[in-house]
Symmetry: C2
Subunit: 345 residues, 2 copies
Amino acid sequence: ANIVTLPGDGIGPEIVTSAVNILKEIAKIYNHDFSFEEHLIGGAAIDATGNPLPKQTLLACQKADAVLLGAVGGPKWAHLSNVRPEQGLLALRKALNLFANIRPIHTYDALLSLSSLKEEKIKGVDFIFVRELTGGAYFGKKTRTEKTATDETLYTVEEIERVSRKAFELAHTRRKHLTSVDKANVLETSRLWRETISQVAQDYPDVKLEHQLVDSMAMMLLINPAHYDVIVTENLFGDILTDECAALSGSLGLLPSASLGKESIGLYEPIHGSAPDIAGKNIANPIGTILSVSLLLQYSLGLVNEAIQIEKAVNLLTQHGPLTADLGGNAYTTEITKAVINNLH
Amino acid sequence: ANIVTLPGDGIGPEIVTSAVNILKEIAKIYNHDFSFEEHLIGGAAIDATGNPLPKQTLLACQKADAVLLGAVGGPKWAHLSNVRPEQGLLALRKALNLFANIRPIHTYDALLSLSSLKEEKIKGVDFIFVRELTGGAYFGKKTRTEKTATDETLYTVEEIERVSRKAFELAHTRRKHLTSVDKANVLETSRLWRETISQVAQDYPDVKLEHQLVDSMAMMLLINPAHYDVIVTENLFGDILTDECAALSGSLGLLPSASLGKESIGLYEPIHGSAPDIAGKNIANPIGTILSVSLLLQYSLGLVNEAIQIEKAVNLLTQHGPLTADLGGNAYTTEITKAVINNLH
Ligand SMILES: CC(C)[C@H](C(=O)O)[C@@H](O)C(=O)O
Ligand SMILES: CC(C)[C@H](C(=O)O)[C@@H](O)C(=O)O
């Protein structure tokens, strides 16, 4: 398999190196042939080429079996007025047509105390968030004059249908409970969302579909997080709610994501940012990226057992350490990599 | 003073009755002359007139010194395709030009255990949320065809400026720390928001202005809620984040809100919904509405001492009870009213 790596900015290079070492170990143990090709994205790409998604990077990604990304952005590029590191990531999602962003949120028994929430609230939390990723206000028409600005949110039936199907299919393999989040009492796009997903539901009679308004959802996620199984919503609501979910789980540095489309190619990245303040110090937590590699093996390469072995190795790590500073330990990034490799054996 | 009451739907009538009794007691103790005029809104207004904001209601509100609202909406009206109870509330906010929704979030020491968050996280939390209330996607152009839907978010410099000034002025009387929330890395309206509020900041040199992206904010509110003093954001982000804040405080039934404009007239309502499942049982928690009356006395009538007396009476109640079921007690709504009145003496 041909894997493109996009280290990006801040701690990106360190955590991608760690995750690639895990992939190499998996290749060794299970006798696979993975090739790696590194390319520029984000601020690093702006510095080198002026473009946050250079043509070469895009071409390489389009030919790859999977793409592994670290993180993009940072204060270094905040002053630029007409180009931003994030544009590289948004353009890549759009170009590869990765319309479904999958974020599994689950808590580790050994790390429950790290959450702001009470242990009894988050023990056993295990749900998957499916965020629409290539539509809505992110890619809508924008206007700007001296005195006004506008953003348009547009959704088509087709866009809603395909991401809904992904969510129903996931729910079908799990506890068969899907929560769709919208603001149908105010937004026209939300009413189309609700109608469309209710139609799609007829093809998945074994899955229970529940609708929730986005404001109530922001509340219910704190009051009863264990209630949820699969949650699906549009791009901007998903951006906000997935970060809330990350915080509630207490393990921001541990959370992976997969961005998927109709084909098997996917983009895999931890959900945390580029953390420029700790970049280059070999102290970043690589687990979010390592677990992204587990999703990569599962969703793009179909190597389900290998994916599970990584999850198990991480689970062991949460129990016996070592841990990085964000989890209360003082281990280096490279020590975590070694420990996960040990646990794989 | 001439106060219009809009009981609305579900538990609305019970909680408004309770709060009006508190106002009457305040009038008696402090020798004020309050007159009350009740009108229809929401589902109750649809049932009676077909219109969620009847002309008579709007006229009465426009002539009032302040408006006290219970709650609107419920499953009873969910099947209606061309009229919704919520439209009455949205139209009223717009017609009275109430562009700033103020929601104080603070926790009660005696009730900390009710929150999903750990006590050490929420002890001492005390901030005010200022949500823009008459702009953005709520009131933007909408289109709908068989296959697509759109919502436009529009903001003008003037809209951003006036709500920013309210937020700076509040911060100026408090800990002088304002957090502005946007999604400036993606939305044009957010970039206008950030530019405009940064301009306004020059008129308030003693207030420290901080910018936060909406996704990070959803996270930071859980990780470090005690950090915040005043928070300001646009309409839809505010809708989502204020509900998250309500849940984190653990005291949803206790939280009031004030919607203010340029004049002294304001609309006051608890932040919870109409709770149709418990309507008519005399078990709803009236405290959110009673504290809304405290905001009414302060912001529309300038009766600051009277406002503080209500806050103190509620504080006593949280310490010694009685409490309604949502707070772990089993008192009736009317018992709470009586207890607050006792505490006022
Ligand atoms: C970097 C930013 C543009 C991006 C987004 O808003 O989608 C990020 O917050 C995310 O959630 O992946
Ligand atoms: C009832 C609804 C339209 C309203 C809103 O979204 O503004 C409510 O959620 C609120 O926050 O006051």
